[in-house]
């Protein structure tokens, strides 16, 4: 008798457990409770804010300390590795680099606070020169409108902004421009020298 009661009890336990498991499983799949399996759509919107940003990524030129050779009337220094009629100056092989770091194309203008005589001096034994040259540091970065063209030195004037690029690209690998500088220094140049080069980027 006791044995049969035990079997009966166990049977009930197993049956109840099975029923519970069945209920939980059916509920999970939404069959028992009436929960419907439905599809729905959602929409993700993304807007990218436009940003205009300009940067001098190479911003220093260091010719070091030197002097004009005594037997000559001027020395010439540039940022393409040339030191002529000068002693001890370092050969600088890297000019300034401007990068379009935003996500829009820009027009690029450049201006200088001084021209050659204002920068180096007036009334000297020879006329000093102060020149710049623009070129694509990365191919195709600049659609040329500069009157001097890319790749040739022109004298720096102070009569306002010079339009260098009508379309300075922002895409990476095509967004940097090289600015080389060249100066000639007469032997009798004296005084402290200073000049500001200003780059203006305007969103297109």
């Amino acid at each position: 008798m006791k044995k049969s009661n035990l079997v009966l009890t166990l049977s009930w336990v197993i049956a109840i457990l099975t029923l519970l498991i069945l209920v939980v499983s059916m509920n999970k799949f939404g069959v028992l409770t009436g929960q419907s399996v439905s599809t729905d759509t959602a929409q993700a919107n993304l807007s990218i804010t436009s940003q205009a940003q300009l940067e001098f990524t190479v911003n220093s030129v260091d010719w070091g300390e030197g002097f004009v050779n005594e037997s000559t009337v001027f020395a010439l220094l540039d940022t393409e590795g040339n030191v002529v009629n000068g002693t001890n100056w370092n050969a600088v092989t890297q000019g300034l680099v401007l990068e379009n770091k935003g996500n829009v194309n820009l027009t690029l203008n450049l201006s200088s606070s001084k021209n050659a005589t204002e920068f180096i001096g007036t009334g000297l034994s020879t006329t000093p020169t102060f020149m710049w040259k623009f070129s694509d540091n990365e191919s195709g970065a600049c659609a040329v409108t500069y009157s001097g063209g890319l790749g040739s030195y022109t004298d720096i004037a102070t009569d306002g902004n010079v339009l260098v690029c009508s379309d300075f690209l922002w895409a990476n690998d095509n967004d940097t421009i090289l600015l080389d500088l060249k100066v000639t220094i007469p032997t009798d140049a004296i005084g402290t020298k200073g000049v500001i080069l200003t780059a203006t980027g305007t969103s297109l």
Binding site: L54, W63, E70, L197, G201
Partner: protein, 384 residues
């Protein structure tokens, strides 16, 4: 040597060394474009980006034909306090047809008292604010863009058309493809469609480049509408896996280890891996030295320099032959390109002069010393 020259040049060196303080400046948003509404009032918040917060007061600058309708909540601000400013726009009841613009920008305030002795760089950055006023009748403006690709890859053209007229328009665009020699290669056609007044539509079309050679091309979009044409142009390049040698070291002093630089250009629209050169310098009979440059990756269309070193003491003055082979890889394909030229070896003048001066000076000093010694010895003998 003129001391004044030395001092002045030292000052020049210092000023050049101090070139460029702030080097970056940005503004968000970069452009805002709206359709005209008479008497419209609108406020826009701008944020300055990219600048260092350590120093610098910035000045807000408004310019352009719409400048008189724009006010700003502050004309200058210090980045340590806030990187934002707000402009308020109040449009008049009428503006001229077409695009009317203003430029809202920031520039660094340069204190000339502080920078009187400095050689510096400065940035001015301008955002574009544009108001489009419809022209009477029908008028379209278009823009065209495309990316560079490699041979066999499609060029995707994006054509943007904006109706700037007061009336709706039916348009039929085409894109003409030209070689750099102005030869018409083919024409891509779009279907005819209507564009409403003040509406902007962006269209796209792909060009199959399988029958094209590598090189520079340009495309001209012509949007025909009811007797008129709006056009736009874009340039693009089709690349192939090639590296061109643009230049190399063609003269060098004799004396120790010297650097040999090769300038190379990629004609490929992907990254070229592991480009390096094998260089051999020889005379008419023998190879004198061979060396390899360090390897480098080259970005699409990039011009870059690779360098190697060799012992120049193996050479005497004169001209030698140089043979350059550039090895490179693109998408697991290996290629080489060869280039032959000349290189001149010369003795540095300054070393010779210095050596001569030292030798002559030493000989003179020795002679003087021996003479004095001889006199002293002779006098000593006489006294005895």
């Amino acid at each position: 040597m003129n001391k004044r020259v030395v001092i002045s040049l030292f000052c020049l060196f210092v000023s050049i060394l101090l070139i460029s303080e702030i080097t970056a400046l940005g503004i968000i948003p970069a452009r805002i474009s709206i359709n005209f509404e008479p008497g419209l009032e609108k406020t826009i918040e701008f944020t300055v980006s990219g600048a260092s917060k350590v120093t610098r007061t910035l000045e807000v600058v408004i310019s352009g034909e719409l400048a008189e309708y724009i006010t700003v909540d502050k004309s200058n601000f210090n980045l340590q306090e806030d990187m934002r400013f707000i402009v308020t726009i109040k449009l008049p009841d009428e503006l001229k047809p077409g695009r009317n613009t203003a430029y809202i920008g920031v520039s660094e305030e340069i204190d000339m008292e502080l920078v009187g002795g400095m050689f510096g760089t400065a940035i001015v950055i301008n955002s574009l604010f544009a108001v489009d006023v419809p022209y009477p009748g029908k008028y379209l403006e278009s823009t065209l863009t495309a990316e560079n690709v490699n041979i066999g890859e499609p060029v995707l053209f994006m054509l943007g058309v904006k109706s700037q007229g007061a009336d709706d328009v039916v348009m039929k665009p085409v894109i003409e493809i030209y070689s750099e020699h102005d030869e018409l290669m083919e024409t891509l056609e779009f279907k005819e469609r209507e564009i409403l007044s003040q509406e902007k539509i962006d269209l796209q079309k792909a060009l199959d480049t399988n029958d094209y050679t590598s090189g520079r091309y340009y495309a001209v979009a012509k949007v025909n509408y009811e007797g008129s044409v709006s056009d736009a142009r874009t340039d693009f390049r089709i690349g192939e896996l090639v590296v061109n040698v643009l230049g190399y070291t063609n003269k060098t002093e004799i004396g120790g280890m010297k650097k040999f630089v090769i300038k190379i250009e990629s004609g490929w629209n992907d990254v070229i891996d592991g480009a390096y050169a094998e260089v051999t310098i020889s005379n008419s009979t023998d190879n004198i030295v061979s060396f390899k440059t360090s390897p480098t990756n080259i970005n699409p269309w990039q011009i870059k320099s690779i360098e190697g070193y060799f012992n120049s003491d193996l050479f005497s003055e004169g001209e030698y032959d140089v043979d350059i082979i550039v090895n490179y890889f693109g998408r697991d394909k290996g290629r080489t390109v060869g280039h032959k030229g000349k290189i001149l070896f010369y003795m540095p003048d300054s070393i010779n002069y210095l050596l001569i001066i030292i030798v002559i000076g030493s000989v003179l000093f020795l002679m003087f010393f021996l003479i004095i010694l001889g006199i002293i010895f002779k006098n000593g003998k006489k006294k005895r």
